[in-house]
Structure formats: structure tokens, C-alpha cells
Symmetry: C2
Subunit: 505 residues, 2 copies
């Protein structure tokens, strides 16, 4: 058995049966071994950033790691920004990177780079295999490390000769660590906080933003706020009482104003996305206490349930009425989405400046799950949608994508077409890095002059998303009115193949 | 004057008047300052890999650095693979990366990452600014370091508060280091080698692969070989005598067979691109001496001229005849290119598996310059073409691009349209990572099975490059016969705006 085959078999033993890849020469042994290890599914992506983002989306929805298979340092380099996002999402991923054969490495051939140095900033665990005999054990360890709570990227670098040489034994399934319940000493004072004086609220992140965590948090009777950058959040009417903290710090401050206690569950105390002149980074009131109920690697849901509390959940908002026709705006588009989104849909959200009105409308939608931006590196939305669709083939995935962000990883559309994934992509085409108009003011850079505005304008030439999607095999259409959008979105929801709608705003 | 304005003014003092950017909030001050410093040209790219590759192409053609302006660690991460290529090309680049404001950094906001750790593997010099008062001096140093022979990426990380705060003085133009002539002690023994026993040849890289170096090398009367991965190479009929070393090691070995001396000029002894089982990495004969005439940071052209030698250059090959019609193949396409390529054209070469026949045909073309792959990280060809066109607006740029490679950085097409760059892109659409069919055999991975072949096939669905180009505002057409290709290429050569031809092979 070659090292490559040993790797694939060890991954399978450890429950990994999906490998997102963009292989090259040094990974050919793994590709070849796919024919001998048919239980491993290989999915090809045309740029490595798609592999990393898809593995993130897959992990968020399945709770299990996928493997990524990348070509040397430069192949890994292309994936780093979405690995950054995956790191912030605490997604478990087993990242396999091929390396030159050990004898070849010293010659500084063109592709030679410091693979470990590229891997370290985004990985919780990095190892370069030093012998093919180690393969099974190293892969077992990589799986175990990826699943160490709260989850992380583990990177295993494999010199080509170790994949083409005879290996040792296949690694056994690793023993997995699980999230621990926080000590009673942590829970007791929080209980007293709730019973005691001064307004209190709960701030949820990590694994506590799903239905179980929201229900348990709501049962305390306290207001519930959500980490805006949590990896997977239950949303829609039943969960509208839990409010996502706003992007801009002054809005977040208003939401939290007057609180004396903000109880942290798998979350750090909230901070603003960017720092600004003359403004602090934290957004809770300065005299607000932030007791920790559960750390990020602990079981926040169990801790919330241990708190007890039998308060009824707040009443649900009403469903909205489907508008007839009218101009297509972020607001009207949000209402249509809220009316038509099917129960159980998975929404990958990278709307950036369009996000606020749409997310507000989605509080009136059927129950669904939101996969937000986690690390802020744009180009995450479409790949995450790919991964979510691979994890949940029976659920509709809706990718809400800004046009600027979508361009960072548009290659994801090809993998949607190739794998016939059940994804509707909606591109919010405002033809501008709109958020930067606002941010420029906020950083004190003054009014946007004519030369500065050129660096924010992506509408010259206008991107034609219909052609871009069709160029990668995805059926696409353009909507400029509410009626057009409604018709196209209804049709896309009925389809079992990927669609893209360019919503011109 | 803000730190941002001080930076732009210092860059201008140092001769940098082009900034390739994809800015975000932390870089808004620089964008705003463009209106106060109009001599700095900002060019927007829709993914950072395009910024890095374009800066590489610009440096190769102008000999001067461009600046890149990137958004925090994740924005830099997207650019790393093309910075890897630029590092191998020895291209001078001043890479500016925004960072969170110093007060905000400690809060681990979503975009927080280890920026320096990302920068180090691709940079010869890295510095994080510690005060706005340092801005002028730090930027001056960054320019000087980028131009330190043979050229490198210097990365300057700038916290947002240092760009919005009052700065110190604008930095003066740096004193630049220049390539030194190698010591006579190096030149003398090489002269004796040439005069002495045993077959000898010259191996050129670095700055010695232009017309002056080729002429001086040819005047020695020795065979001349070129580093296949040199950054900028004079090609066409006058320079056909100088042969690019083949990609596959057995072919390179055949080219060098029988040599007793291979004189290295701004190049290391040649090695194969990958290591393979049972095969050594070096390609010169094992008993071949490899005396160093000029190191990579020395002046190889002056050293060659110091060698003297008045041998006439070998006779030029004949021009080829333009074929009438026939099936479009790599061979027939190469002949059309060789017939029609205008003198002085700049050819960005990322043809991968299609390269050998086309490059052979281009030996019969008018004199032109080739910008090859340098670091082997695919996705370099289109961005390098952008940079070459920005450096040389009066010359025709022809990007010869494999379909697989082109997909890594197709966003470059938008910048071509936006800046109305004089680039013809020819996509070699064989709808496969064709090179990997060969490489799979060579790594001993055995025959390509049905599941393995899926990971090499990029034709399901087929990419429609005409739509992809049109989607980004580039006029495009598809050619399936020699006549169609000839007509379309002739038309594209007459145009002053970007074109793309999908050559279906």
C-alpha cells in the first residue's frame, strides 16, 4: 500500500469521506488512489480558495471535517484567506498539502516555498511527515486535532516520496475530545447575576447559536444577543427574539445600552469589526460586567440548560406579504426572500452593505439556518454555499452574495455546476464596494474625491453576472424589478440544479 | 499631512507612481489621499492575486517597483501565490498592507491575523510601522530594499491609526544599490574553461536573458541555454540560437548531454521542476562542472562582455508561412502566432502543456520578449500581462494562457477592460489539466483510472471563455479552425483594447 492510499484509508477510518481538491504533480498519488479507495469522494475546485471555503461550509453543516488536498506552498497560499475564515468559524478541516520529494527539496526548484510557514497562521496544528511509515499515525492525529473543541484547521504536509513509497499501517479512528460542561462554579454566579440587580442579557456564539442554544437562552427570560460572526445560526420567526449584534459599533452600543451584565456563552465580549479614530473597540457599556458562562471550547448549550429557567419564548413576528411589483431594492428583495425562503433552507450570507435590511426581513421568514461571514475575508460566501450543499444535499442552499465579494471566488460556480449542487446564488449587484463609501467617512478620510471613488467603483465596466455564471455552466438570469425577481427566485427554488440571479439594485 | 499622504509622496519621491490595489477600511486613508497626490496612479483589481501578479509583470518590464495596497492579513493572503512567483522572478515590489489600528489589534476582531507571518515567506524585507512619524523613512527603506539586486518584495505593514495620524517628513529618494561586476578572479577561470578542453556551454538567467546578454553570450561562440524560468527573455529569430531548457528532465538532460562545463550566469545549476522516483534532480551531466561567472545579484551582462569573444551570432531561422486553413492544434496555432506576432510584442507565457510546440514555432517569429512562468504557481499569466501592459502601453501584449491556469486569476480580465489595456489573451482550451496526465505516469501513480481522471478533467461542464470575458467587459470570440483563429488574431492585433480568443483545441 502506498503512503497515499494509507492516507485515504486513514481518513475514511476517521469518518472523512469528502476531499475538496486542486491537486498537482506532487499529489498525483492521492488522485490515483481514489480508484482504489472508492468510498472517498473527490470534488475538484478550480481555485484553492474554493476548496478551503467549501471545507468550512461542509464542517459547519456536518460537524465533521472534510479533507482539502492542495498543491505545495503556492496552492496552499491561494487557500489561506478562506482558511482564515474557517479558523474564525472554528471549523474542523484536515488540510493535506503535497510537498516536493525530500531529495528534491534542497534544489530550490520554482515551486519550492516554506509550506509550514504558510500553514501556521491559519492552522491549530501543523506537521510535515518525516517517513511514509508515519502516514497512518500522522493522519489519525490530524483528524483528532481538527476536532479538538472548538474545532480547527490541522495541516499535514506530505513530501511526494512519502506518498509514492510503501507505507505503514492504516491509522485507526481517533478518540475524539468532546466539549466539556463548564464547572458548576461558573454556572452558579451567573444564576445569581440573573436573579440579582441590574439589567442582564446573554451573548451567544460558537455551538450555542443553534436551535437548542437559542431555546435554552430564551428560557432564561433574558434578552439574547448573537455574535454576528458565529458560524451557524438558527434564524427565522421562532428565533427572531435573538438579535444579531449590529456591524457598526454605534448601533451595537445602542442595542446593548443600559446593560449591567452580558453573560458570555462560547463568545468573547463583543468588539467592533474595525477600530476608528476617537472610538473604543468594545461595544458593551463600559461599566457592564461580562461573566463567562462557557468558554469557546466548552458546551454552551449544556451550560444554558443547566441554568434552568422556564420562561416562555417571546412571540414570533408575523410572516410578511409577498409584494406584487415595484422597484428592486435591498428592502423589497429582502421581503420577497422572507416570504419565499423554504423551511430548513441554508443561507450563506456575504451581502456586506446589503445585509442589514435583508437580515431584518428574514426575521419574518420560515425557520432556516444562516452561515455568516466569520473572518471577514470576502470571497467566503460562494465556497461556503458549495460546502453546505455537499453536506446537506436535501436542503436548499441560498447564497446571498455581494457583487464585489463574489468576484473573489467566483470559480465556486463551476463546482456548483459540476456537482449539480442545490444552490441558488443571488448577486446583489450595486456595482460598488458600497461599504467603503461609509467606511471612508468613518476613518476620518474625509469626502470621497473623484480619484478615490474610482477605487470603490466596480461598475466600470459593469460585471455581467449572467454571463459569468453561464460561462461556468450555471443557469442564470437578471432581475431588475420585484416581479422579475420573484418569478426567477420561485423558479430557482423548484429547480434541483444550481441557479444564479443577478439582482440589479 | 496624514501618514497615508506621506506614504504616497515618499513612493513618488522614490520613483513609484503606480499602485495596484484592492483596499478596505484600513486603507481608506491611502485611497482618499489619491485625490491630493494626483501623480500616483491607482489601478483597482478585483482579487489581490491580480495586484501581485500585475506588480510582477510591471517590474519585469519597467525595472521599477510598483506598489501594491492590500487589506490586512487576509487580503495579503490572497496575493501570496503571485508574490511567490514574483519572488522567483526577482521582481522589485513595494507591498503595502494595512493593519488594524494599534488599539484595536488586541481584541482579535474577525479580520485579525498575523500579517507579518503571511508576508515573510514571500518577502525579502518585512516591517510593521511603529509610529506615523516613521512613515517617510520606512517607505524609503521599503523602496531601497525592493531594488536591492537582484530585486525582491518588500512588505510594509501599516496600522490604520498611523495612516490617519499626522506624519513626519516625506522620505527622500533612496540611494539604490546596483548590480556589481563579478571580480576578475571569477572571470579569468571561466575564460580558461572556454579556451580549455571539453565541450562547454553557457546557462543564462536573471538580467542576462535580454538582448544584451544574449548577444554577449553568443559572441563567445559557445552554445547558450536559458533558464526556462527567467523573468524576461528576448526571443524570436535573432535569439533562436539560445535554447530554453526543456521542462521534463530527460529532455533537458538530452540538451545538455556531453557537456563538461556549464558556465552559470545569474543562475543556479539547472534542476528539474519536480522530483520523480528513481531520478536525480539535476539535469546537467553528473561530471559536468558548473563554474559561476555571475551570481544572481551581480551584473551577468557586464561579466559576459568582459569575457570578450567576437564570434558571429548563429544564422537566424527562416520566417514561417501563414497556413491557409486546417484543424486548430497547438502546432498550427503556434505557426500562426509566429507569422503574425508583431516585433516588440510582449508574450506572457502560461501555456503549460501547450507550451513546447508554440515556443518552438516562436523561434521563427519577429523579435519579441517572453515573460515566462517563474515560480510555477499557476494564475500568473493574465496578471503579468496586465502589469506588462501598464508598463509598456505602446507595445502589444499577448497572453498565452492555458484554460486551467487562467481560471486561477480570471479577474485580471476586468482590469484589462477597465484600464483599456492593449492585451490579446489567447486561451488554449483543451479542457483538461493536461500536464497532469503526463505527470501521473511519471510519479509512478500508474494508469489514470476513471475516478482519478475526473480530478484532471475540467471539461464537465466546459468553461465558456467567451462569456467569462464578456462578463468582465472584454470583447471575445471563439476559434475552432486555423482560419477562424487567424482572422480573429489579426483583428485583435489591430485593436487598441483588450481581446480574448478562446482557441478550442
Amino acid at each position: 500500500m502506498t503512503g497515499a492510499e494509507c492516507l485515504l484509508r486513514t481518513l475514511l477510518e476517521g469518518g472523512i469521506d469528502l476531499c475538496l481538491m486542486n491537486p498537482g504533480t506532487s499529489e498525483m498519488q492521492f488522485v490515483s488512489a481514489l480508484d482504489r479507495v472508492p468510498a472517498m469522494r473527490g470534488v475538484l475546485c478550480l481555485q484553492e480558495t474554493v476548496c478551503a471555503g467549501a471545507a468550512d461550509g461542509y464542517a459547519r453543516m456536518s460537524g465533521r471535517p472534510a479533507a482539502t488536498l492542495l498543491h505545495l506552498g503556492p496552492g496552499l497560499a491561494n487557500a489561506l484567506s478562506n482558511f482564515h475564515n474557517a479558523r474564525k468559524a472554528r471549523s474542523p478541516i484536515v488540510n493535506i498539502v503535497g510537498e516536493h520529494s525530500t531529495a528534491h527539496l534542497r534544489y530550490d526548484a520554482p515551486l519550492t516555498a516554506d509550506v509550514e510557514a504558510f500553514a501556521r497562521p491559519v492552522s491549530g496544528w501543523v506537521k510535515t511527515l518525516s517517513s511514509p511509515l508515519e502516514m497512518g499515525e500522522a493522519a489519525r492525529q490530524a483528524i483528532a486535532e481538527s476536532l479538538r473543541p472548538p474545532g480547527q484547521v490541522s495541516s499535514l504536509v506530505i513530501p511526494a516520496d512519502h506518498s509514492w513509497s510503501e507505507s505503514g499501517a492504516v491509522g485507526a479512528a481517533p478518540e475524539l475530545s468532546v466539549r466539556r460542561l463548564p464547572a458548576q462554579a461558573r454556572i452558579e454566579p451567573v444564576w445569581q447575576t440573573i436573579a440579582g440587580a441590574g439589567p442582564a442579557a446573554i451573548f451567544l456564539g460558537g455551538s450555542a447559536t443553534g436551535a437548542a442554544g437559542l431555546r435554552a437562552a430564551g428560557a432564561t427570560g433574558l434578552p439574547v444577543f448573537l455574535n454576528r460572526y458565529a458560524a451557524r445560526v438558527s434564524r427565522g420567526r421562532p428565533w427572531a427574539f435573538a438579535r444579531r449584534l449590529a456591524y457598526f459599533p454605534e448601533h451595537a452600543e445602542t442595542m446593548l445600552a443600559g446593560l449591567r451584565h452580558l453573560i458570555l456563552v462560547e463568545a468573547d465580549a463583543p468588539v467592533s469589526f474595525f477600530g476608528y479614530p476617537e472610538r473604543r473597540s468594545t461595544v458593551a457599556p463600559e461599566d457592564c460586567h461580562t461573566p463567562l458562562l462557557a468558554a469557546q471550547d466548552e458546551d454552551g448549550v449544556a451550560a444554558l440548560m443547566a441554568l434552568g429557567g422556564g420562561a416562555p419564548l417571546p412571540p414570533e413576528p408575523e410572516p410578511l406579504n409577498l409584494p406584487g411589483d415595484g422597484p428592486l431594492t435591498v428592502e423589497s428583495l429582502g421581503v420577497v426572500l422572507a416570504c419565499l425562503l423554504p423551511e430548513g433552507a441554508l443561507v450563506s450570507d456575504e451581502m456586506v452593505s446589503s445585509g442589514e435590511p435583508v437580515n431584518t426581513a428574514l426575521n419574518h421568514a420560515a425557520p432556516h439556518e444562516l452561515l455568516p461571514v466569520t473572518g471577514g475575508s470576502i470571497g467566503q460566501g460562494l465556497p461556503v454555499a458549495v460546502g453546505a450543499a455537499l453536506a446537506c444535499p436535501d436542503r436548499k442552499v441560498v447564497a446571498l452574495e455581494a457583487d464585489g465579494s463574489g468576484m473573489y471566488s467566483l470559480q465556486a460556480l463551476w463546482t456548483m455546476a459540476r456537482e449539480n449542487l442545490n444552490v441558488v446564488t443571488i448577486v446583489f449587484a450595486n456595482r460598488r464596494y458600497r461599504i467603503l463609501d461609509v467606511e471612508m467617512q468613518r476613518t476620518g478620510a474625509g469626502p470621497v474625491g473623484p480619484r478615490a471613488t474610482e477605487m470603490i467603483d466596480i461598475g466600470r465596466p459593469a460585471l455581467d453576472w449572467v454571463k459569468l455564471a453561464q460561462g461556468m455552466g450555471v443557469e442564470a438570469s437578471r432581475a431588475t424589478t420585484v416581479r422579475e425577481f420573484t418569478t426567477q427566485f420561485e423558479s430557482a427554488l423548484l429547480a434541483c440544479s444550481p441557479r444564479l440571479i443577478e439582482a440589479v439594485l
